[in-house]
């Protein structure tokens, strides 16, 4: 018992010793500090020790430490050797990091832990601690936040604040006893952030509060050094409320707020605002003792984000939290004001629009201005003394303000003030000098004329009265009309008051306007002056006289003829610009020269009596006679000079005819030609055209009717007179016929092509229909009674088929009676003796057509085997096949013996082609009379419908065996094939090797078997329905068959023909 009391006393003593040894307590002057507990082996880099200071330095300034010894009583072997670990816990001010030091003061009492806390041993533990007194001065709060949340996640985390509030700490010789410390409530959140609340009586706000923290985490109990604080010194008020911003009448931004409630002491405030506009981004902090702040230089269109916080005005304290940010956007009032001074320099009109700004409801706009004595400053600013100006809203949405009278050289600084109940805002000011924005009056007395003789467009004007400065001018002119194509001419000579311009058409009416502007570029262009028009008048003498031609009336044999001169009225561009009258100059050798005035007429008739008579037509206007004139000499001798060798007229289309001619060599050189044409069907007047003598071809543009006849005449014009013309009365025939032929060609070719296409289509359709009909007419063997249930695609079927029928039906009629073509080579063997037959395999291709009619495949071949070309009356196989199908027989004669000896049989491409009789589809030939024997050869003819059923590489016997094996293994789809053929199998006792017999020629064609089959193989491509099958005839089965193969297959006649030729080549 005594021992226990002793121990308790000892513990108390140790605790008191810890407190006293701590050299008083940690004064909480900063409102935020850090508690760090580190194992002894850990360096103090974390605390940023200044160079030269030891970590064992005692008597620390701003840092207090206690030691926490942790005893690990772990059951794990890993920590068995860690019996005791001492943690050093230090306070550190965040506001004074560099000066923070940690002293090794391990005199404190240790605390125990029974939990494995290697984490703490390795990295230590840190907490952020904030302590303050609330603004209501009633509640002291300490906020403890762990910086290593993850490590304590699974451990029990508790925080206790132990405090004592002694009356007067300084007067007490001893620190409070442990029992006098009270435990404050600490509420921890999920994020290991604990808030400890201590209620402080109002009377003790100035007293010293002693406290320390006991933190349990991960089974380790950390205890902070003792802290001391006077609550009144760490007052942290609530953030200000009611943040508000407005624009004052002076254009400043006023930020106002209200102090937090229940604050019993004056506060100071810190305002933080940032301005963000398109031009300026700035941040500022300002301290204010009042609850408002004025910010000048407010930019329109900027946004301001403001926050405010408060702190005790007198004495120490802690800044409150920032108030919630408040954003205020100033109105963008960048209003453009444009002004214009009138031409009399007495009035300046300024216009501005609010379309560019966002209108604010309830706001009014006012233009204010300030007039300086002279000129504008470089950077206009809003002057405190300004005058309003009445402006009136116009229909176009612009406000218009008129200054009258004006000070020409005074700067008018203007801006728009937006007045609103919340305040007023001014637009950026602009300064206008009335003298610089003058829009002059347009030049007056503008005149335009085409000058006589020189032929230039002369424009004259008078300057406006104002301004007195030098002016530049712009002249625009163009042909008068509805839509004038203006040309601009600029005059920079201020003294010039007229200008002459070249124009292309001197006899047209031009419209001219002039405007002006200050020469220095200031101000605006004046309006265009009133238009001035030129007057068309004679500018010069006519450039030339009219072109003229003549019509000669009267008897050609007579020497006196009436000559009528014709000419076209002279155009303005030639007459410059009018013709008052025409004058005819006559010149004859006898009567000399005389003139006749014909006025404005364009026709004149005179009597041609003399050998030569020269006339000239002159055009006369107000200026004088035409300078260059045409003349024409009528001369009897010259009228017989013919230099035009030929003349051709080619109609190009209804509006153009090409006229070409050829000249013969002559001593006379024509000056020009006159082409004259007229319609012969109507009494149209003569049309004529003068062309140069160098031209050999001429395009005449007129309205030509193709069915009418025209007369074209070509007159050579010599110096001495008019020559003999070349006259044609119609267009050149060759060309017409050619065009007609061409036209016929254009019609006929499409007709032929379309007919050909139609014919092909008809043939194709008829072919399809014929094919369908023919195949319908061919009896289907499956429908026969004897063929019911048989699969003709299987070789065994045929064997059974014929065995079956030998009992009831004689074999011969089916195999057709062989004719005595060659008694030596064809031996028919009955089925009864098949076992005794010489195993000879002969494959015969048996034509079944009427051989006499020369149709069919093989027969044709043999008919043509006389080295004649194919019969002329024969139709190609494809054509025949369209008419009639017919069955073809094939005999497969086996000679096993020979086949055994002959092992050099190559692969045989046996093919089956469609063979049709051209005239008769009845079977004519028997097996023997048209067969040909091949030594040790097998020619197996199958339909191409089953090319895959029979292996193309089967030897004959093996192939048959294979085929037998394949019985019943035919694919189902093959049974559905429509093209069925019969296969007859027979044997031949006696073979006739290398002999081929034709039915007509009865010539034995002997040829080696390989050639035949090689050729046949070569022919396989020419027949579209060959099936490639290879058999080795050298190995024959012991069973010998006499094959019989009536087939519904067609073969190209051409193919057989070629084969025939090949065969016969071998016989020669």
């Amino acid at each position: 018992m005594i021992c226990q009391k002793f121990c308790v006393v000892l513990l108390y003593w140790e605790f008191i010793y810890v407190i006293t040894a701590s050299n008083l307590s940690y004064p909480i002057t900063p409102w935020r500090f850090k508690l760090s507990c580190m194992p002894p082996n850990t360096t103090y880099d974390y605390f940023h020790l200044p160079a030269g200071l030891s970590k064992n330095t005692s008597d620390l300034n701003g840092l207090y430490e206690t030691a926490v010894e942790v005893k690990f009583n772990s059951s794990g072997t890993h920590f068995s050797n860690l019996s005791k670990t001492t943690f050093h816990c230090c306070f550190r001010s965040e506001q004074d990091k560099n000066s923070s030091l940690c002293a090794d003061n391990i005199e404190g009492k240790t605390f125990f832990s029974t939990v494995n806390s290697l984490v703490f041993q390795q990295i230590g533990a840190n907490w952020n601690i904030q302590c303050w007194l609330k603004g209501d001065l009633k509640l002291f709060i300490c906020n403890v936040e762990s910086l290593f949340k993850n490590h304590f996640k699974n451990y029990n985390y508790k925080v206790h604040l132990l405090y004592v509030l002694p009356e007067v700490l300084e007067d007490s010789p001893l620190v409070p006893q442990k029992g006098s410390f009270q435990i404050a409530q600490c509420n921890c959140s999920v994020h290991k952030c604990c808030e400890c609340l201590v209620s402080v009586p109002t009377a003790k706000l100035n007293d010293t509060l002693l406290m320390y923290l006991k933190i349990t985490s991960g089974g380790v109990i950390f205890q902070s050094p003792l802290m001391s604080v006077q609550p009144i010194n760490v007052v942290k008020p609530d953030p200000p409320l009611g943040l508000h911003m407005e624009i004052t009448d002076d254009g400043n931004l006023k930020i106002s707020w209200s102090s937090p409630p229940l604050v019993r002491f004056p506060l100071q405030y810190q305002v933080k605002y940032s301005e963000n506009s398109s031009t300026v981004i700035r941040e500022a902090d300002k301290i204010a003792s009042a609850t408002s702040l004025l910010v000048d230089s407010v930019h329109p269109g900027s946004s301001y984000e403001v926050q405010v916080r408060g702190k005790r005005l007198d004495g120490p304290g802690i800044w409150s939290d920032w108030s919630t940010p408040h954003v205020f956007t100033t109105q963008d009032v960048n209003i453009n004001i444009s002004c214009e001074t009138d031409g009399n320099l007495t009035k300046m009109t300024c216009r501005w629009s609010t379309n560019t700004i966002q209108s604010l409801a309830g706001s009014t706009l006012q233009l204010r201005y300030y007039r300086s004595r002279l000129y504008c400053s470089d950077s206009p600013s809003i002057h405190p003394i300004s005058e309003p100006k009445d402006c009136h809203l116009q229909r176009d949405g612009f406000y218009e303000c008129i200054f009258q009278p004006i000070f020409l050289l005074s700067g008018y600084t203007m801006w728009i003030r937006i007045n609103h109940s919340l305040g007023s805002l001014d637009s950026p000011p602009t300064c206008v000098l009335p003298n610089s924005v003058v829009k002059p009056l347009p030049p007056s007395s503008v005149k335009a004329e085409i000058t006589v003789k020189t032929g230039l467009l002369k424009i004259s004007w008078e300057n406006p009265v104002f301004p007195e400065t030098n002016l530049q001018f712009q002249i625009r002119y163009g042909l008068s009309g509805k839509e004038v194509q203006w040309k601009i001419y600029e005059v920079y000579d201020a003294k010039s008051k007229s200008v002459s311009l070249p124009v292309p058409d001197l006899c047209a009416v031009y419209v001219v306007q002039v405007r002006c502007k200050r020469l220095d570029g200031l101000g605006y262009w004046s309006n265009w002056s009133s238009p001035a028009y030129t007057v068309v008048m004679d500018i010069k003498v006519p450039m030339r006289g009219p072109e003229f031609w003549r019509i000669i009336n009267g008897d050609t044999m007579k020497k006196e003829k009436n000559v009528t001169l014709l000419w076209k009225p002279l155009m303005k561009r030639d007459s410059l610009c009018s013709v008052q009258r025409y004058v005819i100059n006559h010149h004859t050798s006898l009567n000399g020269t005389w003139t006749e005035d014909v006025g404005n007429h364009t026709k004149y008739t005179f009597m041609w009596t003399e050998q030569e008579h020269t006339v000239t037509v002159l055009a006369i206007n107000s200026i004088g006679d035409s300078v260059a004139n045409f003349n024409l000499t009528f001369s009897w001798p010259m009228s017989k000079v013919n230099i035009v060798q030929s003349l051709s007229a080619y109609p190009l289309n209804s509006s153009c005819v090409i006229l070409s001619w050829m000249l013969s060599s002559s001593d006379y050189k024509p000056m020009s030609f006159i082409i004259e044409w007229k319609s012969l069907n109507e009494d149209d007047e003569i049309k004529w055209l003068r062309i140069s003598s160098s031209v050999k071809k001429c395009y005449i543009h007129d309205h030509f009717i193709p069915i009418e006849k025209y007369q074209f005449s070509l007159y050579p014009i010599f110096m001495e007179g008019v020559g003999k013309p070349k006259i044609i009365n119609s267009f050149t025939q060759d060309d017409i016929e050619k065009h007609q032929n061409d036209a016929g060609l254009y019609v006929i070719v499409p007709v032929i092509i379309s007919s050909f296409i139609l014919l092909l289509g008809t043939l194709f359709i008829s072919h399809q229909r014929m094919r369908k009909l023919i195949w319908e007419d061919v009896p289907n063997p499956k429908k026969c009674s004897w063929a019911q249930g048989l699969n003709f695609q299987k070789p065994e079927t045929f064997e059974h088929l014929f065995i079956k029928h030998t009992e009831s039906v004689t074999f011969r009629p089916l195999l057709l009676e062989p004719e005595a073509i060659s008694e030596d080579i064809s031996v028919d063997t009955s089925w009864k003796n098949k076992d005794e037959m010489v195993p000879t395999t002969v494959v015969s291709l048996l034509p079944t057509t009427d051989l006499e009619k020369g149709s069919g495949c093989i027969s044709d071949q043999f008919n043509s085997a006389n080295f004649s070309e194919a019969e002329g009356n024969e139709v190609t196989c494809e054509d025949e096949s369209r008419r009639q199908p017919f069955a073809k027989y094939a005999t497969l004669v086996s000679n096993s013996k020979l086949g055994e000896t002959d092992e050099e049989q190559g692969l045989i491409n046996s093919s089956v082609s469609k063979c049709f009789s051209s005239k008769n589809d009845s079977l004519k030939d028997s097996f023997s009379n048209s067969s040909w024997e091949i030594e040790a050869q097998a020619f197996f003819i199958l339909s191409d419908q089953h090319p895959n059923i029979i292996s193309p590489h089967l030897t004959f016997s093996e192939g048959l065996d294979e085929l037998l094996k394949l019985e019943g293994n035919f694919p189902e789809e093959n049974n559905d094939e429509k093209s069925i053929y019969y296969l007859g199998v027979t044997s031949i006792k006696k073979r006739e090797s290398d002999m081929l017999l034709t039915d007509k020629s009865r010539v034995l064609c002997s040829f080696p078997a390989p050639y035949l089959f090689t050729d046949i193989r070569a022919l396989q491509d020419s027949c579209s329905h060959f099936v490639e099958n290879n058999f080795n005839l050298g190995i024959s089965s012991k069973k010998t068959f006499v094959s019989y193969m009536p087939q519904f297959q067609t073969c190209s006649t051409q193919t057989h023909k070629i084969m025939e030729n090949k065969m016969c080549d071998l016989t020669v």
Partner: protein, 167 residues
């Protein structure tokens, strides 16, 4: 005296600081242009009749007449008198001329300051206090004579500006 110098200096400084960016050549051109403008304005007045500036008219001696040699100060003094007279005339269309005269005087002061000529603002004639009586007696004549002589004076100034007036 000291205050006067100070005021003169301040005025000069104010003028120079405000219009320092304006080239003096432009000021001269604007001055001549403005003189021509005023002359043209007077010419355009419909009731304007030509009166010889040398012709003496009894009772209108206060209107400045012909001066051969004009300094800046004299010009300003003459213009101040004319401005005073024009402002007194009831004709509405003379307000623009009065404004032009004010601009012209400011330009002359600017020119004078550019040549370091101290040029106080002339206050006009004190004897014009009884101008109202004169105008009542002969309004039209006063207007005609005043504008005619103003036109002549402006032409004199125009010539003098080309020669380079003294301070």
């Amino acid at each position: 005296m000291r205050w006067g110098c100070l005021c003169r200096f301040l005025w000069l400084w104010a003028c120079l600081s405000y219009t320092q960016a304006v080239p003096i050549q432009r000021v001269q051109d604007d001055t001549k242009t403005l003189i021509k403008t005023i002359i043209t304005r007077i010419n355009n007045l419909s009731q304007m009749q030509s009166v010889s500036p040398k012709q003496r008219i009894t009772g209108l001696d206060f209107i400045p007449g012909f001066h051969s040699d004009l300094s800046f100060s004299k010009m300003d003094e003459i213009l101040a008198i004319y401005q005073q007279i024009v402002n007194s005339l009831p004709s509405g269309n003379l307000v623009q001329i009065s404004n032009d005269l004010e601009n012209l005087r400011a330009l002359l002061h600017l020119l004078a300051s550019s040549k370091s000529c101290p040029l106080p603002w002339a206050s006009g004639l004190e004897t014009l206090a009884n101008l109202g009586g004169v105008l009542e007696a002969s309004l039209h004549s006063t207007e005609v004579v005043a504008l005619s002589r103003l036109q002549g004076s402006l032409q004199d100034m125009l010539r003098q500006l080309d020669l380079g007036p003294a301070c």
